[in-house]
């Protein structure tokens, strides 16, 4: 259980959340970032790292991942701290107005200001329709491989046809007692290398490859024991399994933030464009997750919102001080 104290807790480590660290840092405010993904960068790193972006001022073109790498360099002087791979669950207001935020991993962050830079929401695994799937979550069903050792000596079934299903099938074939890969199709369109390896391992008998089939039901007492498959000819079969890992990509959801009493308009948080504050004091929303008349979902608009947010948040972090605006060209960037 990690206990963190900071000035600003930023939910979402995409480009706008990262740049908010810079704008806060110029005003001597420290930041902690929480993101549900295991790496920083949000959708830029998760979905389109190699795509060029053409509308970042000063960069005729830059790939999404380069932009994230540059932002990480730019904010390094301000020493931000991160909780990655964790989902924000609860928000509690203290009597003095500050907040405690808790994640699903038990991390607790005490902060003066909360900035929601959550993009489209938190990326959650797509869940296939499988009978009793939810009953076995945490009891054999997992949607990502956090620690491969967890599967050592076990019977593991992977479902999916994308790169992550292929890569984990190859990797876990050396760890698990038995790896079965179930795929709806009969070919793989993922990286040809990984697909080739999977077919080779299947020939050598190191992976069981079950094509043109779907997982349809799960059975077991306290934990997962057996998986029911249905093939294209409606033939039913069963395999023994300790674990099922469905890997069907990620889809964004607003998540627990929806329960915090914020004004939400069609999955976006309504803000005041004076400072991008929400209806709740000390909570701001910037980037793709907010909405206001004329809103454009552009990275550069999110950067602007981060700057105005920081100027406004200052009064909560340093209530005794008067804010004076300073240009970096005159004062530089003082690290802390």
């Amino acid at each position: 259980m990690e206990q963190i104290t900071t000035d600003i807790c930023i939910i979402g480590a995409g480009p706008v959340g990262l740049f908010a660290v810079f704008e806060a840092g110029l005003l001597k405010m420290r930041c902690h970032l929480i993101d549900v993904l295991p790496q920083v960068g949000g959708q830029l790193s998760e979905i389109y790292p190699h795509k060029p972006i053409y509308d970042i001022p000063g960069y005729p073109d830059i790939t999404a991942q380069q932009l994230i790498d540059n932002l990480m360099l730019q904010i390094a002087p301000f020493n931000p701290t991160f909780s990655l791979g964790e989902r924000v669950e609860t928000l509690n207001r203290r009597e003095d107005g500050s907040y405690d935020i808790k994640t699903d991993d038990g991390t607790s962050v005490h902060c003066q200001v909360v900035v929601i830079a959550g993009g489209l929401g938190c990326f959650e695994p797509r869940k296939p329709e499988i009978d009793r799937l939810a009953d076995f979550e945490g009891k054999g069903v997992a949607y990502m491989v956090k620690n491969p050792e967890h599967f050592r000596g076990k019977k593991v079934v992977l479902a999916g046809g994308g790169d992550s299903a292929l890569d984990w099938a190859v990797f876990l074939s050396n760890v698990a007692e038995r790896v079965t890969l179930v795929h709806r199709g009969d070919t793989f369109r993922g990286a040809p290398d990984s697909a080739g390896k999977v077919f080779d391992l299947a020939k050598e008998g190191k992976i069981d490859l079950i094509l043109k089939s779907n997982v349809v039901a799960l059975t077991g007492d306290d934990s997962l024991q057996e998986i029911t498959l249905l093939d294209r000819n409606n033939q039913v079969s069963h395999i023994e399994a300790d674990h099922l890992i469905p890997l069907f990509g990620l889809s964004p959801k607003l998540g627990p933030i929806a329960e915090w009493g914020l004004n939400i308009d069609r999955s976006a948080i309504a803000v005041n464009t004076v400072d991008y504050s929400t209806n709740i004091e000390r909570i701001y929303a910037i980037g793709d997750i907010n909405t206001y008349p004329g809103k454009l979902k552009l990275i550069l608009c999110g950067f602007h919102e981060a700057a105005l947010m920081a100027q406004s948040a200052f009064k909560y972090v340093f209530p005794e001080q008067k804010l004076s605006f300073k240009y970096t060209t005159v004062y530089g960037v003082s690290a802390f």
Partner: protein
């Protein structure tokens, strides 16, 4: 005008009227028409959140492109006529087509 019919995830059928020559994708039209479509990646055929099924229309619209197949392959359920709406440019020959919204996740 190009007239399309959209079957939403609850099975309701709604007409959508699109002016000719607007140079948008079906995903962008659906978003503008306030359908629940996330279009996370903004139209790069990368996220599959604009998954639709072609129900009626000219034959060439029933076949996804390679870029679409790459992404559709990662989904738990698809139909043979599954497409990504972001990869369908609105053109006049689409008049009268019927699409069904897929994957509410």
């Amino acid at each position: 005008m190009i007239n399309l019919t959209i079957i939403d995830r609850d099975g309701g059928r709604m007409p959508v009227e699109i002016p000719e020559g607007i140079n948008l994708s079906l995903m962008e039209v659906l978003k503008a028409s306030e359908y629940e479509i996330l279009a996370t990646c903004g139209g790069m055929a990368l996220c599959a959140t604009c998954h639709v099924q072609v129900i009626e229309g000219p034959e060439q619209y029933f076949t996804p492109t390679d870029a679409e197949l790459d992404v559709l392959d990662t989904l738990p359920y698809v139909e043979p006529s599954s497409r990504l709406a972001c990869q369908i440019r609105i053109t006049e020959d689409m008049d009268g087509m019927v699409f069904k919204l897929m994957g509410g996740d």
